[in-house]
């Protein structure tokens, strides 16, 4: 057996993880090789001492409580998210009815987290001093707020990946509940606008993107989307979006649409109107 092979086998040898035959082979090598024996002694001593370092003990109860809040919030949010209305009620659903239910769901999440934080504040922590509690509680509240934001993002992104169009609609709607959403959420919305097969989902996404209209990536993405859309409804909604956010970079696209005889007549007319508004 090569010395290098023996060195590589030492952890298993010391942990008794080798077969009897393999262990015997190593013992034989060590008996005849002083260099490896010294190496093995040093290794074994360090390996053994490492076992003296105690395992850390987590505050399982506190961690369990925090995870419960996360799971409760997640389940509550999924259960509370409304089913989407039919096409004609879609816009209203997302701006009023859905908002109402989703706000309740989000509020429930927040209450769970804040309640736990207050609970920690009111009940003395075992072993903690009076002086340290407010600071710890503040840190916990900050951490829980972060977890809530993560939770909302997670729900949004998860729902937007669902096969069911109604769940994707819920996801798009959820994006409105996220305070300072990450670029991941914005990118997911743009991707939905570009590729979602369902017209209602794409329409809802345009509404959801409105709050991010100051971002260059959103403005560029929506201009690109106008050309790619095949649904006149979505094209018209995008033209309205351009006008609403005063996106002058879209003028070239709108002019092309307004002059292309292959484009739906209603879209051509709306594009011409958009040009007038931006002109």
């Amino acid at each position: 057996m090569q010395c290098e092979t023996v060195h590589a086998q030492l952890p298993d040898f010391l942990s008794h993880a080798l077969t009897d035959a393999e262990s015997e082979e190593i013992r034989l090598h060590l008996a005849g090789c002083r260099t490896c024996r010294n190496e093995a002694d040093g290794f074994a001593e360090t390996w053994r001492k490492l076992g003296s370092i105690a395992s850390p003990d987590p505050d399982s109860a506190r961690m369990r409580t925090r995870l419960t809040a996360i799971i409760d919030g997640f389940e509550h949010a999924i259960a509370s998210a409304p089913a989407p209305g039919i096409r004609g009620r879609l816009a209203a659903s997302f701006t009023r009815h859905s908002h109402h239910h989703l706000m309740r769901a989000a509020s429930a999440c927040a209450l769970v987290a804040i309640g736990i934080a207050i609970g920690h504040y009111m009940v003395p922590l075992s072993g903690g001093s009076e002086k340290t509690r407010p600071t710890e509680t503040s840190a916990e509240i900050v951490a829980m707020r972060g977890e809530l934001r993560d939770l909302r993002e997670m729900i949004t992104l998860s729902l937007m990946q669902q096969q069911s169009a109604s769940n994707r609609l819920k996801g798009v709607s959820w994006s409105g509940q996220i305070d300072r959403p990450s670029s991941e959420v914005v990118a997911a919305l743009l991707d939905t606008l570009m590729h979602d097969p369902n017209v209602n989902v794409r329409l809802a996404t345009i509404d959801a993107l409105e709050r991010f209209a100051s971002q260059d990536v959103v403005r560029r993405g929506t201009i690109q989307a106008v050309d790619r859309q095949v649904s006149p409804l979505v094209q018209i909604a995008l033209i309205d979006f351009m006008v609403k956010v005063n996106e002058r970079e879209s003028i070239g696209t709108l002019r092309r649409l307004s002059q292309d005889p292959k484009v739906n007549a209603a879209v051509r007319a709306r594009a011409a109107w958009g040009l007038q508004q931006l002109g």
Binding site: Q9, K49, G51, A54, P56, P58, L67, F74, E147, E153
Partner: protein, 204 residues
């Protein structure tokens, strides 16, 4: 039945995770019971900060929910969740702008940065080794933690790190040798001390 109860003892981790992936998120509680201690142990030893380790464990379970759709049927849950934990730890280091490699090879371990001052007291041998472990480069420390404390087989570590099992064996050997060198140099230089009130070590 509590979502954290042990009535799911005969259910495999993978089956539980598939249930979570399918929408039964309450099953995450059982996975939490099985894994929060090993994850905390790993993260506390890697960060040297138990408060951060608790937050990171929480972060790991949030990520499990967030990325549950990415769990593959043929994958081992332990490998998957520890991969998430490694990523969470890497993000933590980035956020703190702390270099992953705490100490370069060949650095002077008896440097003034870790020299004794009047507030320092002599550590025990175990605490000294613990200090040496935290001074070891993160990738090497990780190998020792996984192999020695998590009891992971070389094959599992190899799958987690994306290398060959033979490579893992050699790297563990080198990591332990380097740890021993650091330990001996700390002991010889008598700099194996901690500040009693302000230093985060020892953590256990």
């Amino acid at each position: 039945m509590s979502r954290f109860s042990g009535k799911n003892a005969i259910v495999t981790d993978e089956a539980l995770m598939r249930a979570v992936r399918g929408g039964d998120v309450a099953r995450l509680g059982v996975l939490f019971e099985r894994y929060h201690r090993p994850l905390f142990d790993f993260l506390a030893r890697m960060t040297g900060d138990r408060a951060a380790a608790e937050d990171l464990v929480q972060d790991v379970f949030i990520r499990v929910l967030k990325y549950r759709a990415t769990f593959r049927d043929e994958g081992r849950f332990e490998t998957w969740i520890f991969r998430i934990a490694r990523n969470a730890r890497a993000d933590w280091f980035k956020a703190r702008r702390t270099p992953d490699d705490v100490l370069d090879e060949g650095a002077d371990y008896a440097s003034p940065a870790i020299a004794m001052d009047e507030r320092l007291t002599r550590e025990t041998e175990v605490a000294c080794l613990e200090r040496a472990l935290l001074l070891l480069r993160a990738d090497k420390r990780e190998l020792i933690v996984l192999a020695r404390y998590r009891g992971m087989k070389h094959e599992a570590i190899a799958e987690l790190l994306g290398v060959e099992p033979g490579t893992v064996k050699v790297r563990i050997h080198r990591a332990v040798n380097e740890l021993r060198e650091i330990f001996l140099r700390l002991a010889e230089s008598q700099s194996c001390n901690v500040k009693q009130s302000t230093h985060s070590f020892p953590i256990f």
